[in-house]
Symmetry: C2
Subunit: 300 residues, 2 copies
Amino acid sequence: MELYHLRTFVAVAEEKHLTRAAERLFTSQPAISAHIKALEETLGVTLFDRTPKGMRLTPVGEELLPRARQALAAASAVMQHAKGLQDELIGSVRIGLNTDARFLRLTALQAGLAEHYPRLEVAMLTGSTGTNLPAVRVGKLDAAFVTGEIDDPSMSVCFLCDEPLVIGAPASLRDQITSTEVADLARLPWVYTSPDCSHFAAMRALFDAHCCEPTRMLIANQEDALVEMIRAGVGLGIVRAGVFAADAQAYELPVALPSVPLQFVYLRKRENDPLIRAVMHQLGAVWGIEPPEAMAREAG
Amino acid sequence: MELYHLRTFVAVAEEKHLTRAAERLFTSQPAISAHIKALEETLGVTLFDRTPKGMRLTPVGEELLPRARQALAAASAVMQHAKGLQDELIGSVRIGLNTDARFLRLTALQAGLAEHYPRLEVAMLTGSTGTNLPAVRVGKLDAAFVTGEIDDPSMSVCFLCDEPLVIGAPASLRDQITSTEVADLARLPWVYTSPDCSHFAAMRALFDAHCCEPTRMLIANQEDALVEMIRAGVGLGIVRAGVFAADAQAYELPVALPSVPLQFVYLRKRENDPLIRAVMHQLGAVWGIEPPEAMAREAG
DNA sequence: TCGCCCCTTCGGAAATTGTGATGGCGTGGG
DNA sequence: CCCACGCCATCACAATTTCCGAAGGGGCGA
């Protein structure tokens, strides 16, 4: 028994004629006849009395009709509900962070997603560039903010802005910092970042250019940990410009450093995933980025 | 969208593998794949995430699953209800009577039908042979009791018993009835029956055999009316033997009359109608009649 | 890196469904 | 009384759909 049997059953019951039911269902009268015959056979009951004037429901058919209607309605409810879910994103999206919320403009992103996709749960998970990348790769995150150049063909990368870097120094070391020569600074204690952090690459580039090696003190792979250690006087470190603005415990040294790009990454193979597209769309609005061609085409 | 799409959807959701779902549904794995693909296309949503380990419901699929189950359950309810109605007769049957209930053993017939087909409404409609026959022909009755030979190829006739006929006479005329010679009786007043009643044929045969003509007094085509008139002294009449047993107002004359058969008729083209078969089966039980070959075969 | 598992795709076969023509049957009008 | 009409059942054949086996690609674990 299939739905078309029931559809035909109801149509014939309402039209009382195979001919009219066939017209209503845009098919031929023998097809309708076969549907009814097959349905009667599988149900083992007679649904209609064949009269010279048409088809009349038997008492059994009369009793079965409302149930057939109910089955059709239930099937139709599946379709209707699906239509309602058509463009709605439900479920959850997990986004990895690598620095502070304000800089990443998270409130605007959250607001945009919440407005357009009210049933989408958004999880913003703190981390770092180094932890975010593998998490995206294995699917623990759907997308993430990262800094630095990404050389991974499986990743789609979206450039957001350049982060200027500075050398942050604790106020407690101000007396010992008499020069901004790199070679001199290298002799002071430094707070390292882990090698997979973009700040690490910047630090290496800085010291390699001057052929010197800093004194390693500690490794922090969380940006706020790094910042806190610098404040606490553990040593110097590379941080985003501005984090020590109006900070009594630390300050920025006037040393020219290359900036690193802030980027947003996700698995390339998911670039057509509606979830990813929705996130990228909102992100583009927040950061003023035109979407790639494929997305622009879709947005029409 | 058809039911098999939903069946496959639910099976895959439960098995979490196309392969296992295919086994469960006794079909091939590509077929299952195609079902899911088609369903996703018509619904316009993605139901499953394809993972290397199998199929995992998306949030949308998760939301649609219970509705799909409901639709399947509704369809299944149609079938189940039909199975319940399979051999049950519902609706009504109309049976025409031509004489009194006790003689027709109606209570036994009614009891048998009520026991085996509790949802069948049985209507016993009083009438006469003359009115019952056309009523059966046009479908106003499903079957009827009649007396006398029936010569109608469209009718199926079931013999029940022979009715012995007698001449009934009012007690008030006893003094005037000095002879049981037909010629003498013909001079007395008679209560006629209508020509389509079997008693009429018996009466004609009686008088034709003796070449005389009775005095017509009144025509009654309802048996109880005939009996009442005889009792009231209107005249003589032909009635079933026994109706005047122990009756103070009328008595039977010892004149030999041919008996007429009591029969049960229905439209021949309905002989395979379950309603008719059920009635005939019960009737056979009541009257001790073996059913015709076709019915015997079915009863096994 | 290999083997395994799982899903998708593909071409051709098989089954199902649909179509137009035809016939039986009963009804109503001429 | 006969014929024409409307309705449904049936039939042979065509169109569509579905199904199957084989092959392919991708991820995972050994």
